[in-house]
């Protein structure tokens, strides 16, 4: 039966288009029978005009004012009929007060992009120089949002069972050494799915894929002469659209289907997808920045403004999104729900997430409504929510981020404490906390080990190979006199700064890498690694490669040849973690034998079994009782880990096992490959069941069976 409200009722003023009153929901541009429903809201605008372009045309084809009598509340909506969906681009002109002191910067000479744009044109192919005279750079388009998912669905893998692999969508395959057909794209990632399965990771966390302008802040490096770009993408133009320039089919406007196909194929082999989302600021910068969207649509609503009307800068990037304003909150919620329902995304990692907990004056809130909404939202109910729990305004909330039992955090303390221990400079007291999933930070109600995302490397900072090859950052190529990038790297170059032929130093570096990944993967909580660490990828000491769209940040697959032993080690230790649920508990340890096995769930050891010299910060061992795996619900082997970060070999007395089982060695980072690590399940029984000689700066894993 046909609806009575689908037919045109009016003509546009120019006479060319048929119109009718639209529906306020959903916001954005939606295909309806015969036409497109356009809907946009603004609290303070006095009127709004729809601007239509033919694809890539320099001037608009038509400008159709939204009749005021069709406005409902603060929402302008109308249906325009007989549009060629694939050929049009649309924008808005908003009129309203120009009163910057009171937060209003309406300018009807500017054409503004729909914040809810699901497809954005203008940077369709990465790096192609735009026409700088374009009057409307980032252009919203109409989206075909239908897609045949067949029986795909979000995987809902328990967070404690994830191995997260952080990657940059372009940098992952852009280097020709990747040998993919479509380097630097979503399709390129898809070509590497077999590799990801072989490595054994089951979750990829992709750095920002929301549309951004790679030309933002672009400039020539004074040191290298290369073009520096907004490469990482932590500065978004639109939150509802995947970046066309990251898609091989972006030039055809098919990035939506290409990304959905990537998610579908990843899910098919059991790999989850987490998106890195950047709601703390936009690409519009401060009052000197461009008009792309929000500034001209409703500046006072969308941005945190000082009493004089300037932009608060808690992001360090020029502006701060007003996340706890009810309207902005709705937009963020709509956005995340859209990615969860329409793209089947499994979770989100929130950049500079403490900004999401600031109120409209910038002050931190006790119960931020946005974070609470996200924690309890029904559609997002099974999504992973991960916070980078700090911002550029000094608000550091690792361990205290408002969580409601749902949020996990990037555990920056894990990185800091484990890196210190690794180079012989740390505290075994702190290590004991980190290995257990940081109960000192997350031991409160409703949290548990699952609150902790453990990592030693991330896009911010050194790669793993560089962490063991450089004491200092080397960001000269960024053109900021090496002033950018973090200084507290807690890294150690093993005796020489940078690349070297010295076999002893290189051997130590490889061992340190294995030590690092071992400590990460035997820790409770959710581990995250960075793409390329598994074959020793280097950025030559650049720890802030945000602007390097070149070999510095494009991972070098050619390194696999000379670093097969590192890759092999990663593969096997990932497999080991997945085979041993005792390493993947949800809650924290109770430090007692509640299963009656004769061993407490976790026990600490040193050179002597059952005794730790807490003043000796170079040596620590622990044993996890297999009967207490997953809170005692699952039976597993007991696992013993000894870590000797001293420069000399030491004997570690082994805890005595019952007669029917004995210690087998799974990994020994001091041994030369292939004896550094065994196939999980094929561990070698130790001749000496009483003591193990742990080499200098080495880690050993034993399994009782």
């Amino acid at each position: 039966m046909e609806r009575v409200d689908l037919h045109p009722t009016h003509n546009s003023p120019c006479g060319k288009y048929k119109l009718r009153p639209g529906k306020p929901l959903p916001f954005g541009a939606t295909i309806v029978p015969g036409g497109v429903n356009f809907s946009i809201y603004s609290h303070h605008a006095t009127d709004c005009t729809l601007v239509l372009f033919e694809k890539n045309a320099p001037q608009p084809t038509a400008e159709i004012p939204f009749p005021d009598r069709w406005r409902i509340g603060n929402v302008f909506s109308m249906v325009v009929f007989d549009l060629n969906y694939e050929d049009i681009e649309y924008g808005f002109r908003m009129d309203g007060p120009w009163d910057p002191n009171n937060g209003h910067r309406f300018d009807k000479t500017k054409i503004l992009m729909d914040p809810y744009a699901k497809v954005i044109n203008g940077r369709d192919v990465w790096g192609v120089n735009p026409d700088w005279n374009n009057i409307y750079h980032h252009r919203a388009r109409v989206c075909f949002d239908d897609f045949d998912w067949e029986d795909d669905h979000p995987l809902e893998t328990p967070v404690e069972d994830l191995i997260i692999y952080e990657m940059h969508a372009r940098g992952f395959t852009k280097n020709p050494s990747s040998k993919v057909k479509h380097p630097g794209t979503f399709a390129g990632i898809r070509e590497k799915i077999t590799y990801l399965k072989e490595l054994g990771v089951n979750c990829i966390e992709i750095m920002p894929i929301h549309e951004f302008d790679e030309f933002e802040n672009s400039r020539i490096s004074p040191t290298t002469g290369k073009m520096l770009m907004n490469y990482w993408g932590y500065s978004n133009v639109g939150f509802f659209a995947p970046k066309a320039g990251l898609a091989a089919t972006g030039k055809f406007g098919m990035q939506v289907d290409e990304f959905k196909t990537l998610v579908k194929e990843l899910h098919r082999v059991g790999i989850e997808v987490i998106l890195d989302v950047v709601f703390n600021h936009t690409a519009e910068g401060n009052e000197r920045g461009p008009y792309i969207s929000y500034r001209g649509i409703d500046n006072k609503t969308y941005y945190l403004l000082t009493p004089e009307g300037y932009y608060f800068n808690f992001s360090g990037c020029g502006n701060t999104l007003n996340c706890n304003n009810p309207i902005v909150r709705s937009m963020i919620l709509d956005c995340l729900r859209y990615w969860a329902t329409d793209y089947h995304v499994d979770g989100f990692r929130f950049d500079l997430a403490t900004i999401l907990g600031r109120d409209q004056n910038g002050a931190p809130m006790h119960n931020p409504p946005l974070l609470e909404s996200l924690a309890f939202d029904p559609i997002l109910g099974k999504c992973k929510l991960i916070a980078e729990a700090w911002d550029a305004g000094g608000l550091y909330q690792v361990g205290s981020f408002p969580a409601w039992g749902r949020w996990a955090e990037w555990n920056g303390k894990f990185r800091d404490d484990v890196r210190k221990f690794l180079k012989g400079d740390g505290s075994i007291g702190a290590m004991a906390q980190r290995l257990q999933g940081s109960p000192d930070l997350y031991g409160g109600e409703q949290r548990g080990a699952t609150a902790s995302v453990n990592f030693l490397t991330a896009h911010d900072g050194f790669t793993l190979m560089d962490m063991v090859s450089y004491n200092e950052k080397h960001n000269e190529a960024n053109g900021e006199n090496n002033n950018d990038g973090g200084n507290d790297n807690d890294s150690w170059n093993c005796g020489f700064e940078g690349e070297t032929d010295d076999p002893h130093i290189n051997r130590l570096r490889r061992k340190q890498i294995k030590n690092a990944i071992t400590m990460l993967l035997v820790s409770q909580g959710t581990p995250m690694i960075v793409a390329g660490d598994e074959f020793g990828n280097t950025q030559w000491g650049n720890n802030n490669a945000y602007c390097q769209d070149n070999e510095i940040s494009w991972i070098d697959w050619g390194l696999m040849k000379k670093n097969t032993d590192i890759f092999n080690y990663f593969k096997k230790i990932i497999s080991f973690r997945m085979k041993h649920p005792v390493l993947r508990n949800r809650g924290h340890f109770r430090n007692c034998d509640y299963m009656g096995s004769g061993f407490a769930d976790i026990t600490w050891h040193g050179k002597k079994a059952w005794y730790v010299d807490w003043s000796d910060n170079h040596k620590l061992a622990f044993m996890l009782c297999g009967k207490h795996a997953k809170g005692g619900k699952v039976d597993d082997n007991s696992v013993y880990v000894a870590m000797n970060m001293h420069w000399q070999m030491h004997g570690f007395e082994l805890p005595k096992l019952p007669d029917y089982i004995s210690w087998h060695v799974f990994a020994n980072t001091d041994a030369s490959p292939p004896y550094d690590i065994w196939e999980p399940g094929k561990e070698k029984k130790l001749d000496n069941q009483n003591e193990f000689l742990v080499g200098p700066r080495s880690v050993v894993i034993l399994v009782a069976k």
């Binding site: 050929d87 897609f147 898809r190 055809f252 406007g253 098919m254 289907d257």
Partner: protein, 109 residues
């Protein structure tokens, strides 16, 4: 875009000359959908079709589903590399039977 329909011995061949996009896909749908009855086989010869847009891919997919629902077969033949590649990257390729040429379609039946 032009569509030439040619009934042959065991199959019907529809040659598509030109692009299938939002302007031309309604025409494609109108002409080809009615052929989806009575367990027949339709082969689309896309040798002279150099571009299929998002709208075009969707019309082809709807045709494929309709043909399957009616117990009929839809085959795509003669795709150029670029079209095949785009169909693969956007996930549409799995829904179709692809052949290098109309002769291959005939040989396989």
């Amino acid at each position: 875009m032009e569509i030439k329909i040619e009934p042959r011995e065991r199959i019907t061949v529809a040659e598509i000359i030109g692009n299938i996009d939002s302007a031309t896909s309604p025409q494609a749908q109108e002409k080809l959908m009615p052929l989806a009855n009575n367990k027949c086989c339709l082969a689309l010869d896309l040798t002279n079709c150099k571009y299929v847009s998002s709208a075009g891919l969707r019309v082809l997919l709807m045709l494929a589903k309709q043909f399957t629902a009616q117990g009929s077969t839809l085959a795509l033949a003669g795709l150029c590399d670029e079209v095949r590649d785009v169909m693969d990257m956007t996930g549409f390729i799995n829904f179709f039977k692809l052949y290098d040429s109309i002769d291959d379609v005939l040989n396989s039946i």
